[in-house]
Symmetry: C2
């Protein structure tokens, strides 16, 4: 590996500078992505075609010179592999025709195997070959609670009241489904590692919908199982808005915890402890600012995290209307800074 900064930072080893990558770095912010996308039928066709997934995965490594690539895919490939196909509806987001309502529905779901997601496995293999050791490749999956929410709600939601109602009224069935998702996710991520992923990240996008005690019971329990299954590569958990779970996340068997921009850096370090690398956590909206503000705030963030155990990133994905030059300036500022 020519640039293994991010792997070393994740393991808590010394690094010459803070590594940086950006959530949603492959995507609509890049004109070259929009060009590839316009040739395809849509987002899902892109995800399911290894050559194109590989191409758009590498685009931000060329455009921004970030310290990692992340395989272009979607967290909803898992419910689909388990038996619930979805559509990605332009300007609306994902939509599932069939959702989970009964025990029978859960029993009918398959435990996904890597072969069920061969297109992702192939995309990882191809990307590893094309990257040829330039930077590590990150594999990822959605965390069980977030995947569960989509399977019950059938789409995004403001309140997640259907998914949460399921937790409150049918906790045993919820656990049955969450375990199936967990088993599928472990199989899938094992397949990603076997295909060459150098690092893994779990995204719990809807963590903030749950109370602390429900998060323990229905989310952390399964995240913990997944963390325990991976020793081979550094593992990151990013639970957006789960401010209340930071102390417990510090006890997970993983290397890195992602922070969103509402989480104070010093407070998070105190809560999570010194045995984890922290990832994040700039507000993506900072990148709408003028250049001086972007530079000043990026450096302030670096100083707040300090030189060790930090992987610079945003606190959420890039927004599609951000300007490429501003994104590049943010990355460059991080890469040029020395403690």
């Amino acid at each position: 590996m020519k640039n293994d900064l991010i792997l070393r930072a994740a393991r808590g080893e010394k690094v010459e500078r803070t590594p940086v990558w950006l959530m949603r770095q492959a995507g609509r912010v890049l004109p070259e992505y929009r060009k590839v996308r316009s040739k395809m039928g849509g987002f899902k066709e892109l995800v399911e075609t290894p050559e194109f997934a590989c191409e758009v995965t590498i685009q931000p490594v060329d455009a921004f010179d970030v310290d990692a690539a992340i395989i272009f895919s979607d967290i909803l490939v898992i419910p689909e592999a388990m038996g619930l196909p979805y559509q990605m509806i332009e300007a609306k987001g994902p939509w599932f025709e069939k959702t989970i309502k009964t025990k029978e529905d859960i029993l009918q779901l398959r435990i996904a195997q890597p072969e069920d997601l061969q297109y992702v496995i192939d995309a990882i293999k191809l990307t590893k070959k094309e990257l040829n050791g330039r930077v590590p490749l990150i594999g990822f999956a959605g965390a069980p609670w977030t995947i569960f929410s989509y399977m019950i709600e059938g789409s995004g939601s403001k309140t997640f009241s259907k998914a949460k109602k399921f937790l409150y009224t049918q906790p045993n069935l919820a656990h049955l489904l969450l375990q199936k998702i967990t088993d599928s996710t472990i199989n899938y991520m094992k397949g990603q590692v076997a295909a060459g992923a150098d690092m893994l990240q779990l995204f719990d996008s809807w963590a903030g919908a749950l109370s602390p005690s429900q998060y323990d019971e229905f989310a952390l329990k399964y995240i913990s199982q997944i963390c325990d299954a991976f020793k081979e590569v550094p593992f990151t958990v990013f639970a957006k808005d789960a401010h209340f779970a930071r102390r417990k996340m510090g006890l997970l068997n993983c290397d890195t915890i992602g922070l969103d921009w509402t989480m104070d850096i010093a407070e998070s370090r105190e809560m999570i402890g010194n045995t984890k690398t922290l990832q994040g956590n700039m507000d993506p909206c900072l990148l709408y600012s003028d250049n001086d503000t972007i530079k000043r705030e990026a450096i302030k963030m670096l100083q707040q995290f300090g030189p060790h155990r930090h992987i610079a990133n945003l606190g959420h994905g890039l927004y599609p209307d951000l300007e490429v030059d501003k994104v590049k300036l943010f990355v460059d500022t991080i890469k040029e800074y020395r403690f």
Copy 2:
């Protein structure tokens, strides 16, 4: 006042039992509300007709026997009174035809006066008369940052990226607008008190979109001005998802801080201190549960808050599909409990 429990709890005085009311207690969860609503042209007509606003304000006092009424209205009456009319679109939410883009747009806005919101003032007067001292009447307004967001975005948003972009790129204009909203809000709430409101609450619905430092600069600064303007009646600040601002909220010149269900009770008490009453914070989805679970969790919440300086409530508004009987059971459980 026949039942002044909530006023005493807000002021930190001793109470015989914990008082309880529910955010969105007046609304779609009640069949009698839906009946009144079906007679009207829509939500806004209801808000703007004092007789109907009064009727639906008192409905939950009859139906649930809660310890306070809250005037039936909307936080968006303020932007409208300042010069930006809105529509409430069924199943979609509020929508503003005109939004704020330039300095000129801001300069054209009026500072609202109570007379601009005479229908709310009249509704408060009428409701006070009809309540006849049964329970206190709560007046309310949106916090400046939340109102600002609607004025820039023109509707709700997932990311509030337009409103936040405005903060990052035009901070001086943002402060100009926030100050106009703050002045309007103080005038409006002064009018509510003059009309008879016994208590006031500020709702910062979109607090969680901001980083801690932006929240200080663009939100807390103005909330603080509003708190400072009211000594006459107990004042509550509820900033949803502003977990990061709890220590600073403990320093506000107000009586009560609202908590959402992601905020741990003991941790919040430690952060906010003992000089504030805490309000909240049950997950509304608990009310989908069976009766035993509702009772058990309601009592657990009471015990965690303890007997002093607590006003029981949800951590957010009631959802429209909750059953009346479950809501009543939650309220009854709180009212029957003795420390």
